[in-house]
Subunit: 331 residues, 2 copies
């Protein structure tokens, strides 16, 4: 089977060049994928017939970061992101990837690819690097206001993702809370805790956020507001720590020498902490694989996002979510 | 003027020894404070008359971590934490410090020391280490469910704290949100944003959480649920990064040598990131200075918490909050 991936060539800080280079590299790396680059003819036409598994689809409009997401998706019918999403809707591709506006990606996937029947709210789910094998944070920003039943579905969808895309058996699903006791948390979290307990996923209960990075769970469930703030806080904190460390290391001649000798260790460390290694964030709960790559993705990050889309298609994630949600939806 | 501090000798992982040692060290460091250790007679009586500025107050009960906070504070009239708080209520001390249960500390301070008139909700506010001069996170867990007016007061109280205790002129107050635009956030945050705009503090608007550690604000305002989760996430992330780095550095002979040479840089770095350097978290909004020291505080952390209480008393923080809140309360 060939996995067909629609790739928005115009989205992202370094589009279209990085996207094109990423597509080329991924085609070489994986011989079971076909990529359709979607973007302006003037940009893409030189690539015509460059590779039998690299297709082109012209779309002359683009969605900008400043566009209002829902309005842009509705109005800009010929925007590259919209056209790429329509390919999934029309079964011309199994997956869509964009490094463009997150808001537009969520709006577009929800409006065009549509929700899986029974899914109340699609959720954006990146994998965070941890001391262990990585943890899925769901939701990290698609749903700023949530209901308890949404969090239950996030737990179910996250569990399916970690099992089928990341290959983790019986993933441990925790609910992020300000304490582990049943009595802890907002009303939202208390009710979600009760609902998650009744599912047949491996729900390990309320979890303090300090446990996530230490490897305490495989799926960390939270509302999109809290998740977004956690994820961005982690981003800033990682940056701050490396910046402080660099300054300290450059502070004396001896430690400078030390830093030079330890260079490879720092490099490995940075790589381990780098989101680019983890591809992008899937929007789980829509009728296709939809991947949001980081806005400033480089070629490596793009290739990883494409690999992630490929694994998600191969893992049949959409059907698996659909079947599992049906169990609860038809209660 | 002598600043009088009541110190709960029985609270904390390594109480009473660490608390006693911390009190002794602080008395030596600051010649303008008087500390009253509050705890069991059997524990404290050997210290009798050991220093003219070290007083003792016997209290034979203790509040345990497993106690239900409000019930424990109400029932255990002779618990060390309760007796220490009553000293502030009865004007026998200006400040109380405990390394015991956070829940009991918040309940006790609210019930015994009582709120400043006009303050809707006291808030727990630790200083986070950042690339710049540190940022106050308010609230980090006293109020799991908040109203917009609470967040407005958190901003006001936080601003007063950073100005009068940390010596930062015209502190920049940001509201943690999932984006900077006015339209972003939950209803709570949107309304709080509108309210904060109308204050005369230096409100810089909605702020993404990644900016906090990079020095983007002096006060980061959020509800107690989000704040608690951010703070604990940071704790776990710091631990995880240092643990990963250690493992990487020990991975090869060369990088091990490098790490040895850079030892002092790592030490400085750890110190910079260490909450123990920052003392404890103040519960702002009660009629006295109330400091929660970290449960596993060592002597250094205790001395810093005592120093922080001293600066808060000297900065007349309670009266300053009271006057400022009155401005808004009497609108």
């Amino acid at each position: 089977m060939i996995y067909r991936i629609a790739l928005d060539a115009m989205g992202g800080d370094d589009a279209p060049q990085v996207i094109i280079d990423g597509a080329k590299a991924a085609i070489e790396k994986y011989d079971d994928i076909e990529i359709t680059l979607v973007g302006k003819e003037a940009v893409l036409s030189p690539l015509k017939d460059s590779h039998e598994r690299l297709k082109l689809r012209y779309a002359e409009d683009t969605i900008e970061m400043c566009d209002q997401p829902v309005a842009a998706v509705r109005r800009k019918k010929d925007a590259s992101m919209v056209v790429a999403m329509n390919m999934v809707r029309n079964k011309e591709a199994e997956a869509v990837i964009t490094a463009g506006s997150t808001g537009a990606m969520i709006a577009g996937a929800t409006l065009i690819i549509r929700r899986i029947e029974g899914v109340e709210r699609p959720a954006l789910a990146p994998v965070l690097p941890t001391l262990a094998r990585g943890a899925l944070l769901i939701d990290c920003g698609a749903n700023v206001e949530c209901r308890p039943s949404h969090l239950r579905q996030f737990g179910i969808m996250g569990s399916i993702y970690m099992e089928n895309v990341m290959g983790i058996e019986n993933p441990r699903v925790g609910l992020i809370n300000n304490g582990t006791e049943d009595s802890k948390g907002t009303d939202l979290v208390k009710e979600a805790h009760a609902l998650l307990k009744e599912t047949n996923i491996n729900y390990i209960g309320n979890m303090e956020s300090r446990e996530i990075m230490l490897g305490g769970c495989d799926v960390a469930v939270t509302d999109g507001f809290t998740g977004n703030i956690m994820m961005k806080f982690a981003e800033g904190m990682g940056k701050a720590i490396f910046s402080m460390l660099k300054k300290e290391l450059m502070g004396s001649f001896i430690s400078k020498i030390g830093a030079m000798l330890s260079k490879s260790a720092f490099k490995n460390m940075k790589k381990r902490m780098d989101y680019k290694e983890y591809g992008g964030a899937l929007l789980l709960g829509v009728n296709g694989v939809a991947v949001k790559a980081h806005g400033n993705s480089d070629v490596r990050a793009l290739v990883n996002a494409i690999g992630q889309a490929r694994t998600a298609i191969a893992g049949d994630i959409v059907n698996k979510i659909s079947r599992k949600i049906e169990e609860y939806y038809c209660e």
